[in-house]
């Protein structure tokens, strides 16, 4: 491989990996049930976050989700832990996942589960990052699907757009 090729390869590789290195978030779980399914979440978890957040402590942000991730009838069938797991998962997915990459939560106590998948990333006119997402929630044997948009707030949280 020529030096030129190596340069290009390095560029590709190093541009390709920011998703790993940018996983610089810690997370905060909201106790507000309303906020639970109002947020979308991701893949990396707990202990992994600290390791991923290496190098730039200033970049570590608190990530949470506000708004109604799952509302209405579906939300009534989920308990607080379901919602908490969904919110944590959603927050991480919004922050870290690539488009099309789903993150799943499952509550062994209720058997309920869900997957949050960012489907599009864009920047609003005001400069906010927003991510459209798809959410699949399994309640018992019933699958529920919903779509939404979450936008990143200055404090690092993600707000579900109504």
């Amino acid at each position: 491989m020529s030096s030129q090729a190596r340069r290009c390869m390095a560029i590709v590789l190093l541009v390709a990996f920011p998703a790993l290195s940018c996983s610089t978030l810690a997370e905060k779980t909201s106790d507000n049930p309303k906020a639970v399914l109002g947020s979308l979440g991701g893949a990396a978890v707990g202990a992994g976050i600290a390791a991923l957040a290496h190098g730039n402590p200033a970049a570590i942000v608190i990530s949470a989700v506000a708004g109604g991730l799952i509302g209405g009838a579906i939300g009534h069938h989920l308990d607080n832990k379901d919602k908490q797991l969904a919110e944590q998962t959603a927050a991480r997915a919004f922050e870290n996942n690539h488009t099309g990459q789903g993150s799943t939560w499952k509550n062994p106590d209720t058997g309920n589960s869900g997957t949050v998948t960012p489907t599009k990333t864009y920047q609003s006119a005001s400069g906010q990052y927003c991510r459209e997402y798809r959410q699949d929630v399994m309640i018992g044997n019933e699958k529920h699907q919903a779509y939404g948009t979450a936008c990143r707030q200055p404090d690092g949280s993600w707000k579900i757009q109504s």
């Binding site: 340069r7 590709v12 541009v15 390709a16 920011p18 893949a43 870290n96 099309g100």
Partner: protein, 134 residues
């Protein structure tokens, strides 16, 4: 210049090719076909401008570590081997690159790689551009 363009295109098209799902094994970053498949969201066998644009935005989002909407020199340095490639991208010379500036640079390369000028990138065109570097 041609090589620079190719680098831009490859970086844009292939960026995230190797970006693994967190906790999963990385995809073969050197395989432009894998990158192409990931960029080709509707799986029609070609990459259109919209898919290309979405890919570029995705790269910027993940590269912007502090999520302030800009890529600083530090962020560029951490994700790009040759940040000098972006010297011309900073049109307003504020020392950082906005998404607009980033997209402008990347998008300009689409036509360069679109050899048959049909408005789409085929896997062969992407692979050919990749191999130009060798």
């Amino acid at each position: 210049m041609r090589r620079t363009i190719v680098r831009f295109v490859l970086a844009a098209v292939l960026a995230l090719a190797a970006a693994p799902a967190l906790g999963k094994e990385p995809a073969p970053a050197h395989d432009p076909r894998v990158a192409f498949a990931e960029t080709d969201q509707n799986k029609d066998g070609r990459v259109d401008r919209e898919e290309f644009h979405l890919r570029i935005v995705e790269v910027f989002f993940h590269g912007d570590r502090d999520k302030d909407g800009y890529m600083t020199t530090e962020e560029l340095t951490s994700v790009v081997v040759f940040p000098e490639d972006f010297a011309d991208a900073d049109r307003d010379e504020d020392g950082r690159i906005s998404l607009y500036e980033f997209v402008r640079i990347r998008s300009a390369t689409f036509d360069e790689v679109d050899g048959d000028k049909d408005g789409f990138l085929s896997v062969d065109e992407v692979v050919a551009a990749y191999e130009v570097r060798d």
